[in-house]
Amino acid sequence: MGRCLVLACGALAHEVMAVKAALRLSDADMTLQCLPAQLHNRPAAIAPRVAEILAQRRGAFDRVLVAYGECGTGGALDAVLAEYDATRLPHAHCYALFAGAERFERIIEEELGSFFVTDFLARHFDRLVWQGLGLDRHPDLLPVYFGHYRRLVHLAQTDDADLRARAEAAAQKLGLEFVPLATGYGDLTAALDTLTEGPRV
């Protein structure tokens, strides 16, 4: 097994580490580097930041997985990956990554106005969503942002009562119905397993 770099969105750091442990990968097998999760709110900045890190790390690893989905980069991320011979996670975003494509489609078909939070977003809802969208300063913008949403779907990677309570509180704050769904790590496990396939320590 060669040395692998996982360059991840900060929103996936916990989950990548959890899967790494479950797959019994060592630090020698896999190095994790993260970019700030706040980039989620400014997707145009994702591809340049990824390119910057990949340029710095060029030649240091045998394989590179960029742990992002397409994430609203409009093809810019995929162009960077092609340039640096790197791959990324399947799916457009981490909601489909965790839920799986078919299940995600079913959720959307059932209610288009579904606002998704992962465990990470449940944990950091106030900072990344509430403050990130300026709702702490301008609560009057709530209907502008969330007027078409009907429910908050918590895609739970872990069985954690505290996170579930946080997600439920977030739903209440946004005035949305709360729908908890256990997903585990979804397709993240397969992606890391494929990246690092080979004999284990």
């Binding site: 997707p43 145009a44 397409e70 994430c71 609203g72 980069t73 409009g74 093809g75 810019a76 457009a92 959307i108 288009l112 106005g113 969208l133 300026g134 709702l135 300063r137 301008h138 009057d140 913008l141 502008v144 942002y145 078409h148 949403y149």
Partner: protein
């Protein structure tokens, strides 16, 4: 509560008042923008001139700073709210004097599968400011909605918006259908939304890609000029 440093808008010259209104719009001060609009109307300004010189111009500056990363979405929305407060006063006057919508109708809507409308609404407001009658189809529009609106309103331009990478390809579906029906020959189609770029717009055969609200309004004006 007034402060001795507060600016009395009515004491300003027309030129200074327009500059102050642009600053107030930039700061998202809806009440002040509304007051400035009322003062200019009282002084005999034409509604269309207030719209273009104070409100649209103010929002154009906001658009530039948003593009440059100086302003962020929450601030832009506050600015939009301030512009709206002035437009609400001007809209009935513009309609009654017949000077409104001299550029024709602009049908706009977010595509099927997508419920995001912040960008679309900003574009709609700038288009209205630019002189279009905006027919807003709202969110989650299948191709049938666009076709029905084109049939009913005979617009000068059609606009589509999408925020998601997963929904933006649907713009291509709509354009293909317009092409099949021969509509594309005479109806310019503009597309916009955060994940879009010029390459994508070219690939799906859109007439124009509007990278932000202010640019979209300018491009729409040019399109109408080209087609009329």
């Amino acid at each position: 509560m007034s402060d001795e440093n507060d600016i009395i808008l009515d004491d300003l010259s027309d030129e200074d008042l327009v500059e102050q209104m642009k600053d107030d719009l930039y700061d998202g001060m809806a009440d002040e923008v509304r007051e400035g609009t009322q003062i200019l109307l009282r002084r005999g300004w034409q509604a269309g001139d207030i719209l273009s010189e104070a409100l649209v111009e103010g929002m154009r500056i906001v658009g530039i700073d948003f593009r440059d990363g100086t302003l962020f979405v929450p601030e832009v929305l506050q600015c939009a709210g301030a512009m709206k407060s002035g437009m609400e006063l001007l809209r009935p006057i513009l309609a009654s004097t017949g000077s409104r919508a001299s550029l024709g109708k602009f049908v706009i809507g977010t595509v099927k599968g997508d419920i995001h409308d912040i960008g679309k609404n900003l574009v709609g407001m700038m288009l209205e400011g630019a002189g279009f009658e905006v027919i807003d189809l709202g969110i989650n529009n299948p191709v049938e909605n666009y076709l029905a609106a084109i049939d009913k309103h005979q617009p000068a331009v059609l606009g589509m918006s999408a925020l998601l990478t997963t929904t933006m390809p649907y713009m291509g579906v709509v354009i293909e259908e317009l092409d099949k029906r021969g509509i594309l020959k005479t109806l310019p189609v503009m597309v916009g939304g955060a994940p879009l770029n010029q390459e994508f717009a070219d690939a799906i055969g859109a007439t124009q890609y509007g990278r932000d609200a202010a640019v979209s309004a300018e491009l729409a004006r040019a399109l109408v000029g080209r087609n009329h």
